[in-house]
């Protein structure tokens, strides 16, 4: 498909219906069923989302809490399926959602680099080759053989970010993680993201920090109550955001 070769992600009229299970235990479920209550409640988390993201583009998704930003990211990551419509993704995705989810506190930093790397789709061989770079980036040589439960939260996130960034993704999903660590490390993360942008990596950023959208994104998208309110030039969308919210 030559016409699509420069499209990283194509989202085609996607809607997502959430079934919220009200009862999590039999103790709650049985009386509810006897009383004629419904066991599930549904609501639309996203409605008719139509979106094309080009390769190498950096797009920022903003919107109030509960507007569907994270759901959209989950759909792109492929962990959740759309109820209607379709999503096409071209290229290897590295999600930076909920950093550190693949870490185990009892394992050492070194063991966790391998665990998290493999989870993110690298082979052990690749991780071996990049191990020094990863630890250099995280600046954690002194602690790499200690269990990560002894790490400070900043150190923990530094290591997680370092692993994720070295998976050489073609599409990077970033969810509110850039408030990580001290200022020096934040600058380093931003520099790395700049570098990825130059290498034609597609970046999708979900954030509340409007400054980082202004600084890094080519385009912005405003979600409100599960629909796209505005999409386009960053400053126009940001203006709409401050008028709307």
């Amino acid at each position: 498909m030559t016409e699509n070769s420069n499209i990283a992600i194509k989202i085609n009229h996607v809607s997502k219906l959430f079934h919220k299970q009200k009862q999590r235990t039999f103790k709650e479920l049985i009386p509810a069923l006897l009383g004629g209550e419904k066991a599930v409640e549904s609501f639309w988390a996203l409605q008719d989302i139509d979106l094309e993201i080009k390769k190498g583009e950096t797009i920022g998704i903003i919107g109030p809490n509960g507007s569907g930003k994270s759901t959209l990211l989950k759909l792109i990551a492929g962990v959740s399926m759309p109820t209607k419509g379709s999503i096409k993704v071209n290229g290897r995705i590295a999600p930076l959602i909920e950093l550190g989810a693949g870490f185990h506190p009892e394992l050492t930093g070194r063991e966790n680099v391998f665990l998290n790397g493999v989870i993110l789709g690298m082979s052990r061989k690749e991780i071996n080759e990049k191990f020094n770079q990863i630890v250099d980036f995280a600046e954690l040589w002194d602690f790499i053989d200690q269990p990560v439960k002894h790490y400070s939260s900043g150190m923990y996130l530094r290591l997680a970010f370092a692993v994720a960034i070295h998976t050489e993704p073609e599409i990077l999903l970033v969810d509110e993680i850039l408030a990580v660590g001290d200022e020096g490390f934040q600058r380093k993360c931003f520099e790395k993201i700049e570098e990825l942008r130059k290498n034609n990596i597609t970046i999708i950023m979900v954030t509340h920090v409007l400054a980082s959208v202004e600084k890094y994104c080519d385009r912005a998208l405003l979600l409100k109550q599960s629909e796209i309110i505005a999409i386009g030039k960053v400053n126009e969308v940001l203006k709409k955001y401050s008028n709307n919210v």
């Binding site: 959430f18 079934h19 299970q21 999590r24 235990t25 039999f26 103790k27 479920l29 989950k74 990551a77 492929g78 962990v79 959740s80 399926m81 999600p95 959602i97 909920e98 550190g100 989810a101 693949g102 185990h104 009892e106 394992l107 063991e111 391998f114 665990l115 493999v118 989870i119 993110l120 789709g121 082979s123 052990r124 269990p147």
Partner: protein, 259 residues
């Protein structure tokens, strides 16, 4: 067969997740892996005491402790596998909402970790065999297919439990009770012969009963297992596995939404 993808395409991920399970175990306690061996050993000692001195099981041809151990070890493997598999998805919520790979890998890795535990606990059994001067013959090779059937059965039930527990967390508590009752309906601590004749057909429908009897026949008795019963167990296990796998895969798309 897409079912086998977890073992080929995702081999490295499977081994990392399995190592995580195994490592966390010995890092958490002082005795670490010793517990894996000591637990079933002490359980066996207590039960052997009760049933040789108080309840008095009739002569079985082999000493009761080793008769008991031959059933208790595979049973413990089965029960522990189901217990940890029912938590395999719930305990990995962070990953499930983050990145996609086939979710059964969580279930498989926890089962493999339990098999490692089992192999370690087996060392004491082997020591006991020497201690009592029990000999084995070529029929012992039957343990390989018997073990394979046990794992097929375990995997099938585990897939169902892991997915169901995501929806209703009661499953894991209910499971403890079911396992307890199930153990008494399986000839683990008593020989089949002690079970009333007219109800003995129940064992035919209980793959774990067939499997445990078969282990004893080939390891302690030195004979052939009951092929017909094993065949039924194999067919039942496969039916359950295919059904559970379909159930699991059908719900997989909404795991991240409800977790």
């Amino acid at each position: 067969m897409k079912m086998l993808e977890s073992f080929t395409k995702y081999r490295e991920l499977l081994s990392e997740l399995t190592m995580r399970e195994i490592k966390q175990r010995y890092k958490q306690s002082v005795l670490g892996y010793a517990w894996v061996i000591l637990n079933p050993f002490f359980q066996m000692l207590v039960m052997a005491f009760v049933f040789s001195f108080i309840m008095r099981i009739p002569n079985l041809g082999v000493p009761y402790p080793i008769f008991l151990y031959a059933g208790l070890l595979p049973w413990t493997l089965f029960a522990n596998s189901l217990g940890s598999a029912s938590n395999a998805l719930v305990g990995n919520a962070g990953l499930i909402t983050k990145i996609y790979f086939p979710r059964e890998i969580f279930v498989i890795s926890t089962i493999i970790a339990k098999i490692v535990d089992f192999l370690l606990a087996l060392s004491i059994f082997v020591a006991f065999m020497f201690y009592y001067h029990l000999s084995v013959n070529w029929n012992i090779l039957w343990v390989i297919p018997i073990f394979a059937i046990q794992q097929l059965f375990t995997y099938g039930i585990s897939l169902f439990l892991a997915a169901a527990n995501l929806f209703y967390r009661d499953i894991q508590y209910l499971l403890g009770l079911v396992i307890l009752i199930w153990m008494y309906l399986t000839p683990v601590i008593y020989p089949t012969e002690l079970f009333p004749d007219k109800y003995r057909w129940i064992f035919q429908l209980n793959p774990m009963a067939v499997i445990i009897n078969a282990y004893r026949q080939v390891v302690l008795g030195g004979g052939m297992p009951n092929i017909q019963s094993l065949g039924i167990a194999l067919i039942l296990s496969l039916i359950i596995l295919v059904g559970s796998y379909k159930f699991f895969k059908k719900l997989e798309g909404i795991f991240a939404d409800i977790i």
